[in-house]
Amino acid sequence: MKKIKLSLSLFVLLVFLQFNAQAEPSLPESFSQVLEENKGQVIYLDFWASWCVPCRRSFPWMNTMQEKYTNDNFKVISINLDAQAELAAKFLTDNPANFDIIYDPKGKIARYFKLKGMPSSFIINKQGKVVSAHVGFTDKKKAKYEQEIAQLLQKQSND
């Protein structure tokens, strides 16, 4: 039995090592610049791709958010992860966006943010700090996301 336990912990260790072995990716400069430019605003940073079904669902919501909170120092920035720009363009024809789109075909920004799934979103406060990370987009989640955004904006105006 002891042997089994030992091998078990060995495996856990192996998994751990593998995880740590990856080099820390760095944020592409062009994107840090974007973050710098938008300091002072609450940012909803969204990662999407044309083939991702829930991403399609999130577009009208992000449009609405951008419209609804546009005067409250709020900004939706989305990062497209399609390898081919044509696919993103076609998606955008069907699902128009009224927010900024950054193209990250090689996933450099995505790697930095260590995405767990698609879509992924991050809420960044006015100091430029990521305050929460989310995976997926559902009715339940969008209510939660909006609440977080609203709270952050509230906090901001109270400061």
Binding site: S30, F59, N63, A85, A89, P96, D100, K106
Partner: protein, 439 residues
């Protein structure tokens, strides 16, 4: 609003900017999104797959099956799938008796009629006619970011058969959804109520004196009850693994245990004398339990303009049937969205321990026996071709044509006398044509 791009993208833009999509984004910001409101809600609609399939065996069974499957994804990633299947089957099915040099007379399983099979021909009961209606529902929903649960039910009814089943399945994702483990259980309860009742095991088919009271009495004596049932428990554990950007594999182990009436009430065995002449026909008898283990593996590889789908299944059961199924589909994708998919399937099974093509008059009656070629040694192959094309607004149409060939094999028992002159293991050919429309 400025448009931000990574440097590589910008370079790409210079050579060939993707104006249309980017322009749409810009315009949307200018003119507002109201105008597009109706376009955006296109997601949570019902999706339908409809198919009609025609199955035609040369001189035997003809079946037509129609399916309407509906699918809807809800706002919290729940999926509801409903499916209605209707099939109609007519034609002739081998009754298990061996061919003879002379004509043979059989009583129909219902006791309401008789049929004569010409000399040299494999005896087929040509009165099969059945219509089946099946309703299936499945609900799938995420429990958390990694767990998904699914539960479903199935009800199917035909004239002399009813099946009801339920299943539940739990999956868990690992490694950013690259690995998925699943475990499920299903329970099915089937009732068979053949017209004319359930025959007693090894009861002799009553033939003589058709129409007389004696016949009716003898027929009634050969029957046990009006109906019988069986219960099936299935367990399934599976692993799905993404290998790389182009490849995914799935591996399943499943265990199935059936208990109850597993005999085919319509099948008989010929009892032959030393010269191979049929003396009588006994209703078959099978064990009342069967447990199966199956190992299934499938892999899909996408080459960019084509996709290779291969699968293999190994099944073994305590009736001593082992089978190997090998299936390959190669889909060639055209730029227009059309595709062509050749399909090849090989199947080979060994015989059940109690399978025998006939009984011999002087032999001691075994505990179980069946002459149903479908549990005998058997090789089959399928050759198919599917053609699919996209239609307007995301709809699609596909057609497929398949040729199915069955080659039953001798179980090794030596034939003798007149049996040497007849075909004991008749091969079977079938054509399958199907049209599918999805909208």
């Amino acid at each position: 609003m400025q448009l931000i791009e990574t440097t590589e993208q910008k370079q790409k833009q210079k050579t060939k900017p993707n104006l249309k999509g980017l322009l749409t984004t810009a315009t949307c910001a200018l003119l507002g999104t109201q105008a597009h409101a109706e376009v955006n809600t296109s997601d949570d609609k019902w999706r339908f797959d409809t198919a009609i399939m025609h199955y035609n065996e040369a001189d035997r069974v003809t079946a037509t099956e129609a399916i309407i499957a509906a699918n809807k994804t809800y706002g919290n990633d729940e999926v509801l799938s409903l499916k209605l299947t209707i099939d109609a089957l007519t034609g002739a099915s081998a009754n298990g008796a061996v061919a003879q040099p002379d004509a043979q007379t059989f009583t129909r399983p219902s006791g309401n009629g008789q049929y004569i099979v010409e000399g040299g021909e494999t005896p087929l009961d040509n009165t099969f006619k059945d219509t089946r209606v099946q309703l299936t529902g499945q609900w799938t929903q995420p429990l958390s970011d990694v767990f998904t649960i699914s539960a479903g039910g199935n009800f199917s009814k035909e004239y002399d058969y009813m099946s009801i089943s339920g299943n539940t399945n739990l999956t868990r994702d690992f490694n950013q959804k690259n690995t998925t483990l699943s475990a499920g259980i299903a329970y099915a309860y089937d009732v068979i109520e053949p017209e004319g009742g359930i025959p007693k095991p090894f009861a002799e088919m009553v033939i003589a004196g058709f129409g007389s009271d004696e016949f009716d009495q003898a027929f009634a004596d050969s029957r046990l009850t009006g109906d019988d049932s069986k219960a099936t428990v299935d367990l399934l554990v599976g692993l799905t693994q993404v290998i790389n950007r182009n490849m995914i594999v799935q591996m399943n182990y499943s265990y199935s245990s059936v208990r109850g009436y597993l005999t085919d009430p319509f099948k008989v065995l010929s009892v032959v004398d030393v010269n191979g002449y049929a003396q009588s026909y006994l209703h078959e008898s099978r064990p009342d339990t069967r447990s199966k283990h199956a190992f299934y593996a499938q892999s899909k590889y996408h080459f960019g303009h084509s996709m290779l789908d291969t699968s293999y299944r190994y099944m073994t059961d305590d009736w001593e049937i082992d089978s190997h199924t090998f299936d390959v589909r190669y889909r060639v994708l055209f730029a227009s969205g059309h595709y062509l998919e050749p399909h090849l399937r090989f199947y080979s099974q060994s015989a059940a321990e109690f399978y025998q093509p006939f009984l011999q008059q002087d032999d001691v009656l075994p505990m179980y026996a069946s002459a149903d070629y479908r549990i005998g040694e058997l090789d089959t192959y399928t050759l198919g071709l599917q053609y699919g094309m996209p239609m307007d607004s995301g709809n699609s149409l596909s057609m497929r044509l398949e040729y199915y060939h069955q080659a039953p094999k001798s179980d090794g028992s030596a034939s003798f006398g007149v049996l040497n002159d007849v075909e004991l293991y008749e091969e079977l050919d079938a054509l399958i044509a199907q049209v599918t429309y999805s909208f």
